[in-house]
């Protein structure tokens, strides 16, 4: 990190110090809270990567598109409810909750369906043919491209115009951080979603199936687990969570519905999954939150334009020095 940034500094010929420790200290709480907010969204998307990786040992590249379909679903839900781009409408609390719940259900359904279709159309034929590993990865890239381009050809290259139902308002401040209603909703709801997912995987029959297949597909099959059904289920669960993440993201960034808008989030969520320990549900949560916070502090230190670089560097460092992530693997093995 030091090396990377210092060389950039020389090239940039900046006269002032390249590390803004003042900003870092001044905005510590603001960045921490903001980081948790983004981090909880990363965490939900990361769960999708982690589940699929755990069960199939597949980096599901197209998961970012599963997410962005949820974002579009959110937008269209708002649109069909009669809301239009422009100023935030005044809504009664009850109405607001009802609309948001409707949106999250639609987004989850759309993302879940997308994930299911992806699995059946793209990955299953490969499994049936016993295709080699890299074929899956290339298919994932191809499928990601196709899903993305469907949106591009249908909705064009620009982001959908912002529709927002809830105006962020500062409730109270902690140090430099202003805690907004949106922050609380996103963080709390994400952690709730994660809890549900964790309980599902660790406490239910289907969850046991998922863990069994992740640990040893062959034995699991011998023990009467229907592997194909478990794989489908895994994709769907990942999709549902991505759909929920999409709603939260759209509440935060209402301009988020853009055909290629999932890519960066997807990469970061994957980085989060790896950081926490891929295949590990708790790792996804921890990695997501941590990445969000580190990224925010990183941009305070080095400047906003380096935000994405921080995430990539983190990903590379983790893979190089601790490929099993912080918590290590639990659903399956991390290294091939």
């Amino acid at each position: 990190m030091h090396h990377v940034v210092s060389s950039a500094h020389i090239l940039a010929q900046e006269s002032d110090s390249w590390i803004n420790t003042d900003t870092f200290i001044d905005l510590f709480w603001a960045n921490t809270i903001g980081g948790l907010e983004y981090g909880s969204i990363y965490a939900l998307i990361a769960l999708g990567y982690t589940l699929v990786y755990g069960v199939l040992k597949l980096l599901n590249f197209a998961h970012s598109e599963v997410f962005i379909y949820g974002a579009y679903a959110t937008w269209f839900t708002f649109f069909l409810l009669g809301f239009r781009p422009g100023p935030t409408p005044e809504l009664a609390t009850g109405e607001l909750i009802a609309f948001l719940l409707l949106a999250v259900v639609v987004a989850m359904l759309v993302s879940g369906t997308t994930a299911l279709v992806l699995e059946r159309v793209a990955y299953r034929p490969l499994r049936n043919r016993g295709a080699p590993r890299l074929a899956f990865l290339i298919t994932a890239i191809g499928a990601s491209l196709v899903l993305q381009q469907i949106l591009f050809l249908w909705r064009g290259g620009n982001a959908e115009q912002a529709i927002r139902l809830l105006r962020p308002e500062t409730l109270f401040t902690v140090g430099s951080a202003s805690i907004q209603n949106l922050t609380i909703i996103i963080v709390v709801a994400s952690i709730l979603m994660w809890l549900v997912a964790d309980t599902f995987v660790n406490r239910t029959r289907f969850g046991r199936g998922i863990r069994a297949v992740a640990q040893d597909p062959e034995t699991a099959t011998l023990m009467g687990v229907n592997k194909e059904r478990i794989i489908m289920l895994t994709f769907v669960v990942g999709g549902l969570l991505a759909g929920a993440a999409a709603l939260f993201y759209m509440m935060k960034i209402p301009q988020g519905a853009q055909y290629n808008g999932g890519f960066l989030l997807g990469i970061k969520a994957f980085a989060a999954a790896v950081l926490g320990g891929i295949g590990n549900l708790r790792g996804a949560l921890l990695g997501g939150l941590l990445l969000g916070v580190i990224e925010n502090h990183g941009q305070a230190l080095f400047g906003g334009e380096w935000r994405d670089v921080v995430a990539f560097v983190l990903l590379v460092l983790v893979l190089m020095f601790r490929p099993t992530g912080i918590l290590g693997e639990s659903l399956g093995k991390a290294r091939v």
Partner: protein, 401 residues
């Protein structure tokens, strides 16, 4: 506090401009009775050149071309221009039965990478005597020398980067004012009209955004209290917003395009920053108004473009043909095409003659007085107008004098 002061300044400015502007009543397409603009939009100049000419032109096998984004990124902007050109060509061809000018369209997707291939093809197409394009500064840079080499004149209806005219290209003409005009005007608006003492300048990474920001910063001098950078396609601006919040400016000038401008404005607004936001022509688009949500109503725009709502006839014809309102640079596209068409009507059916024709051109267009200096800049610097959002529409505010 700041807001109150700004409002007061605005009222004063508005009153002044009302007093200065002509008093003839005009129907206003855009605003309702309660939203009278603070300055009148100019009407279609009576002496404006017309693409239809006198209707007696004779020519054959001659074409003009549009090159630029059509379906690529930022396609809306390209479509606006192309439609303006199409309208001009249609009017010309309808009026002149013996001079049917063909309009050839070339898609560059707005990327510099494709420009040389496309432009080379254009210069190799002999019937093309003049080109409307290229819309963006990057692609213009990549291919301007090809026009120059081939002697094919190009009138850019929207590339405002000043450096483009400094390449010594003899075929480059700019159909509108450049950022050097807009920058000082914007600074003037910020300090005088809005009374801002502390300004944050935010620039994107485009040729346009950087150039304009430089011009604005130079004119603002020590009133610039922070200078932030954003990137094309960026959607998340927390770092920039935090820095601006910390700098506590009276006003923020966003030098970039609406795609990033809209979410930026919204996040600035959400964070409770009360500084007045001002954006340039790249932000002045209905997409911004829809994209920025609550923040849009609080934004001013500067633009070296004349308010189009006075051009009722043009707007009507445009709507009839394309079923939508003219957008940013539609008028400029129309004007540029008219220059070329009138040249053809005057018998300038080869490139050399056309180049001479444009060089010597001196007539009122719909938007600007069109006549060029040696570098291809408009000889008469066009005025810069400010705009604001009212009821979800962009309406004119004041002319910066």
């Amino acid at each position: 506090m700041a807001r109150a002061r700004i409002t007061a300044a605005l009222v004063l400015a508005a009153a002044a401009s009302l007093a200065l502007s002509a008093c003839e009543a005009r129907t206003d397409q855009g605003g309702s009775a309660g939203n009278e603009p603070q300055a009148d939009a100019p009407a279609e100049p009576a002496n404006a050149h017309k693409p239809e000419g006198d209707g007696n032109a004779k020519c054959s096998n001659v074409a003009i071309a549009y090159a630029g984004t059509i379906n690529g990124e930022n396609a809306a902007l390209g479509q606006n221009i192309l439609n303006g050109v199409k309208l001009a060509v249609k009017k010309h061809n309808d009026a002149n039965k013996d001079c049917q000018v063909e309009l050839k369209e070339f898609e560059t997707e707005g990327v510099p990478e494709k420009a040389p291939g496309i432009v080379t093809q254009m210069v190799n197409t002999k019937e093309i005597v003049g080109v409307v394009g290229l819309p963006f500064s990057g692609e213009s840079k990549a291919a301007g020398n090809i026009f120059d080499k081939a002697g094919l004149p190009q009138i850019s209806p929207s590339a405002t980067n000043p450096a483009l005219a400094e390449n010594g290209w003899k075929t480059f003409f700019r159909g509108l004012g450049n950022d050097n005009a807009q920058g000082p005007a914007a600074a003037k608006f910020l300090t005088e009209n809005l009374g801002a003492e502390k300004v944050c300048v935010v620039q994107d990474d485009s040729e346009y955004g950087i150039g304009l920001a430089e011009a604005v910063k130079e004119a603002l001098g020590d009133k610039v209290v922070c200078n932030e950078k954003v990137k094309t396609k960026q959607k998340e601006f927390s770092a920039v917003v935090q820095s601006i919040k910390a700098a506590q400016p009276d006003a923020v000038y966003y030098s970039g395009y609406y795609q990033e401008g809209a979410p930026f404005a919204q996040q600035l607004f959400d964070a409770g920053v009360e500084a007045q936001l001002v954006g340039p022509d790249g932000v002045k688009d209905v997409e911004y108004v829809k994209g920025a949500g609550d923040a849009a109503a609080e934004t001013f725009f500067t633009c070296p473009c004349v308010p189009g709502e006075g051009f009722t006839k043009f707007a009507g014809e445009y709507r009839d043909m394309f079923d939508k309102d003219p957008g940013t640079y539609s008028v400029e596209g129309y004007d540029a095409a008219t220059v070329l068409l009138s040249g053809i009507d005057a018998g300038n059916t080869d490139r050399k003659k056309m180049l001479e024709w444009i060089k010597n051109y001196d007539a009122q267009g719909l938007s600007n007085k069109l006549g060029w200096d040696d570098k291809g800049e408009l000889a008469e610097t066009p005025t810069v107008w400010t705009y604001k959002v009212e009821n979800g529409k962009i309406v004119r505010n004041v002319e910066i004098k």
